[in-house]
Each structure stands twice: as C-alpha cells, then as structure tokens.
C-alpha cells in the first residue's frame, strides 16, 4: 500500500487529467441520484404538502411515520428493494436487479421520506400564513396544495438538493441492488468502498475528493439560491 501523499498526488492527477474511468463513474452517480430524486419528488412533494394541508384520518400517524423513516438505513432499503426485484420477488420478471434502474429505485425509496418530511415542514409553515386568505378566496384543498407547492418553490429546491446530497452519498442501497459491476453499476461510493478494500487508494481518493466537492457545491448552491429568492421575492 502506498503512503498518503503519494496516493493523493496520483488522485489529483486522475481528477485533473479527467480520467475516462473516473468520469464514467461520476456520470453514472449523477445520473442515478438525479433520476432518483426527480422520480421520488413526483410522489414525495405532493405527499408532504398533503400532510401539511390535508385533513384526513391518520394524518398525524402518517406524519410521524414519514419523519421516522427519514433515518431509514440505506442497507435496509437496499435489502427491501433487492427482495422486490430479485428473480423470485414480485417485480422479478422485470429483470431490473443489478441495473442502474434498480439503483434509481432504491435511492428514490431512500430519499422519499426525507423529501416528504422536509416538504411537509416547509409547506406547513407557509400554510399557517396563507390558510385564512386561501380559504377566504375559496380555494379547495387541491388548489391550496398546488399554490403552496408553487409558492415555496425556492425552499423546495433546497429540499431537493438535500435529497440529492443524501442519495449521492449513500453506499448501502446501490451496493446491494446494483451489485457494483464494473462499467455498469459502479458509482462513486461503491467504488470508493471497493478500491479502498483492494488497496487502490488513488482512485478511491480521487472519487472521494469529487464527492466531497460535489456535496459542498450542493450546499453552497442551496444557500445561494435561498438567499437570492429571499431578496427577490421576500
């Protein structure tokens, strides 16, 4: 095993030299996690808004469950999705196991509670302010939900970024359902885990650097966009 400075300089060489293998892995990570967040949002954002605005039996229980599932371990999600997609599982005939699609499904499930819970909180705050006015104007629950989702769009963008940060940084789910197949389902986190155990530290470090930079950039983007929206729209 080489020492750290040596590995680091090789790693920086890989990043700076736009190594094709590294780029492929990064691209797959981004593709999988972005897709997962977008698919998840289609379901989780309306659910979160409904938990804030809706008035139906079991709303509080569901809210507690969704909040609790935010801490869902990625490996458990991986296991559940594995069971669903495995050849004997209910979705086995689709043949999705060990494909990027399976990874998208797993990450979508993983971030859904996070997106829904953060959306609920965001929409709930706005709802407190808007409630009387929207009722006064005769908005139905459906109309109010749509209005609140649109009016909190900048906060919800930050919520999506948080979901993306969680998705792109997790190992357990994609490892189990993707199988970490070279050139097919190998993403940044699974590669880091594998290469570290193999002793190829430069590649692991290079991907680690990219991943950390990416996560920092996401948070910076969330901060900047939030501040901009506050200035622009109040």
């Amino acid at each position: 095993m080489r020492d750290l400075p040596d590995s680091l300089s090789t790693a920086l060489g890989l990043v700076g030299g736009l190594d094709a293998k590294v780029l492929d892995i990064v691209a797959l990570s981004l593709r999988v996690s972005l897709s997962a967040v977008l698919f998840s949002a289609l379901f989780a954002l309306p659910l979160g808004a409904l938990l804030a605005v809706g008035n139906f039996p079991g709303r509080r229980t569901l809210t507690v469950v969704v909040n609790g599932l935010m801490g869902l371990p990625a490996v458990v999600v991986g296991l559940l999705v594995y069971l669903l997609l495995s050849r004997a599982g209910p979705l086995g005939p689709l043949g999705l196991l060990f494909t990027p699609s399976a990874m998208v499904i797993a990450q979508a499930v993983l971030v859904a509670p996070l997106l829904a819970a953060l959306t609920r909180q965001t929409v709930d705050d706005a709802w407190r302010e808007y409630r009387e006015q929207l009722h006064s104007l005769g908005a139905t629950t459906r109309q109010a939900t749509a209005t609140l989702l649109w009016d909190t769009r900048y906060s919800l963008f930050t919520v999506l970024l948080a979901g993306f940060g969680r998705a792109v940084a997790e190992v357990g789910a994609v490892m189990i359902v993707g199988g970490n197949i070279d050139g097919v389902t190998r993403v940044m986190t699974t590669t880091i885990a594998l290469e570290t155990s193999k002793g190829d530290l430069p590649l692991a470090l290079a991907l680690g650097l990219i991943l950390v930079t990416l996560v920092l950039a996401i948070n910076a983007l969330a901060y900047v966009s939030g501040a901009w929206a506050q200035r622009r729209f109040g």
């Binding site: 006064s136 005769g138 908005a139 209005t147 009016d151 729209f233 109040g234």
Partner: protein
C-alpha cells in the same frame, strides 16, 4: 341581479371548546352601507366578521344570506396583515380571479384594471412581498375588488400602517363602497370609524351592546359600555 342580502344572524354563539367568545348575536345586514364594528380587544369583533364571512362556523344559531344557508361567492375579506403570494402584484390579483373561475384570457385584463383602481398600475410586475405594507394592503384590496363582491369584510385593514398609508387605504375603501359594495369593517382607530362609518355596531364581551347610526353614536352613544369606551375608560 340576484341579491345576496339580507345577511341575517340569528342567535349566533361561538364557543370553541366551551369558551364563549360570542353569545346571542342577532344581526341583520341589509347591504348598501358602511358598517363599522367597534369594541375593546377581545370583544369578539374579528370572530364576528369571520363568522359572517364563513371562515368560522358558529357553535349556535343560524347565518343566512337572503334566506339561504349556502355561502355566496360575492363576498370577500381583507385581513389585517395582507397575505401576499410569492409572485407579482398583478399575479396576486389574478390568482383571486382564477379561484373564482374567471377564464385565463380575462384575468390579466381584469387584474390590471383592479390595480389601476387602487393606484398601483406602476407596481404591477413587482414581486408583491417586497412592496411596502401599505402597498401590499392595496394589492389585497385590489384582489378583493377585482372579484366585484357585493360585500367586503375588512379586519382592521390599517392597524399596522402609518397614517399616510392608512388614509390611502381609507380612500380605496370609500371608492369600493362608491362602486356598489357594502362594507363591514373593524378598526381600533376612532377617527377612521368617524370618517368611514354610516353605522356603528358596538360589541362588548361577546354581545352587541348597540347598533346606532354613526353620527348619533359619536354624539350620544346609547349603551353605558359604549359611553365608557368612547370616554376611554375601557382598554
């Protein structure tokens, strides 16, 4: 035109979780006038307006619009703190029209006309939430006015505004009334009540102490509670 008046309240009580806020309210609003509801803090003014508007359901009694219990669309409310959506002033006015079922093609035109009437044409494209408090309240009035309500409820519409902004709001209220909308409002500003009211409803401890033409009320209030209120003995 089909009328929504009279608005009649019969034996109205409001006691959420057993705590009485209003009790034994009998009231009939014929329409056409500017009615100001006065009373001390906690007398139940805002609750009474919310009941009439339909935001709250009475725990006792019946509210009827022209002998029907269904809540008509031709009535609007403007709140103490204007609630502005995160979009332009124009879009805020158009939003009310959208909820009222006005076709998309007509919304923009009607919304612009409403902003024009409250003197805010020049701010139509500005994000509503960065406008001043007085401007936001005028957008809220335009949003209500665009719907051409037969009656407009105003809950302390100038309570958080400076005198100049308050006067501009008062002018808009006068204009809205002049265009044929009945006004029911609450205020803590006695000068404003004098300037705007045709009649006063004085609430005390959840009951109507008196209902008197404005000129008479400020000269010779009938009820001892109102006399004490005007003399400044009540908070």
């Amino acid at each position: 035109m089909h009328t929504i008046f009279p608005l009649s309240l019969t034996g109205i009580g409001f006691a959420p979780e057993g705590v009485p806020v209003l009790d034994g309210i009998d009231l009939c609003i014929e329409g056409g006038s500017r009615t100001v509801i006065l009373g001390a803090n906690g007398a139940g003014k805002s609750v009474l307006m919310r009941l009439m508007h339909g935001l709250l359901k009475p725990t006792a009694g019946v509210i009827q619009w022209n002998a029907s219990q269904s809540r008509p669309h031709a009535q609007c409310m403007v709140f103490q703190r204007p609630v502005m959506l995160r979009r332009s002033a124009l879009a805020n006015v158009a939003y009310g029209l959208k909820l009222a079922g006005v076709p998309l093609a007509q919304r923009s035109l009607q919304a612009r006309a409403a902003l024009e009437r409250v003197g805010l044409s020049h701010l139509a494209e500005r994000p509503a939430r960065v406008l001043s408090g007085g401007e936001q309240q005028r957008v809220a009035l335009a949003r209500a006015w665009a719907l051409e309500p037969r009656i407009l409820f105003l809950d302390e519409p100038t309570a958080s505004l400076d005198p100049a902004a308050s006067r501009s709001i008062e002018q808009v209220i006068v204009d809205i009334h002049g265009a044929g909308t009945s006004i029911v409002m609450t205020t803590h500003n006695l000068g404003q009540a004098r300037r705007l009211a045709d009649e006063i409803i004085f609430l005390h401890a959840g009951r109507i102490a008196e209902r008197t033409p404005a000129a008479e009320f400020f000269q010779h209030p009938r009820s001892p509670e109102a006399r004490a209120f005007l003399a400044g003995e009540l908070p």
